[in-house]
Amino acid sequence: MDRRKFLGIGLAAFAAIVAPVAELNAIDFRATKPKAWEAEKSAEAIKELYGSGGLKKSGIKMTAPKLAENGGSIPINIKSDLDLESIAVFQDANPRSLTAVFTIPKNAIIDYDFRIKMRQTAFVTIVGKTRAGVLHSTSKEIDVSIGGCGG
């Protein structure tokens, strides 16, 4: 009986630790904004995700190669000192525009590195939303000599 009790306590403790983790995801953008993931063009996708507010062309810095030799793996870095709530990556090179949406924890350092695929030369647009609701963006054209996505 003691052993059973002990196991029970252990299980309860385990559940207590595990349970909050499952609810950590503040916003699942796939569930809340399914249309944004289907949009073909950046302009459309931005509208679906963030609404049709004006975009300020400041505050976000993107570092990416001007010419990408391998379209399957293009390194991109985004930095910002703004108090952003989320930041999203769009490109016009693939069948669908939206590539990634970062949910930014409070007091986070916004300095993200990641890699994306691009089939052809196109603009990459980064849009960030501040906690006050202001949209900031930056974009850059990347030349792709060999397309990604197996193309």
Partner: protein
């Protein structure tokens, strides 16, 4: 889905993280071309001591075997960094690493 490689190093009050996840990141068009199943990670969440330090929703246009780098405050040497990924089939995977 396969392994996860995680590197986390504390310097002062900032922790630098580098992580690689195994996934083909194949969206429907690419999968059709290569005759493989559609498979990509839809979400990556990183936590330390129960606090989210990294969260991203992704599509199949991230590169194969996504490699990410980021920095965060609020972690120290010995803390465990836990990553959870979810793929398009809803399968999740977790990986842990102590911060060095």
């Amino acid at each position: 889905m396969g392994k996860m490689k995680i590197k986390a190093k504390a310097k002062g009050d900032i922790v630098k993280v580098k992580a690689m996840f195994t996934s083909l990141m194949a969206d429907s068009e690419e999968a059709e071309k290569k005759k493989i199943e559609v498979e990509y990670i839809t979400q990556i969440v990183g936590t330390v001591n129960g606090n989210v330090v990294y969260e991203v929703s992704t599509s199949g246009f991230m590169s194969e075997n996504p490699l990410i780098k980021f920095k965060f405050k609020g972690g120290k040497k010995g803390d465990k960094l836990v990553f959870t990924t979810t793929d398009n089939h809803g399968k999740t995977q977790t990986g842990k690493k102590k911060i060095k």
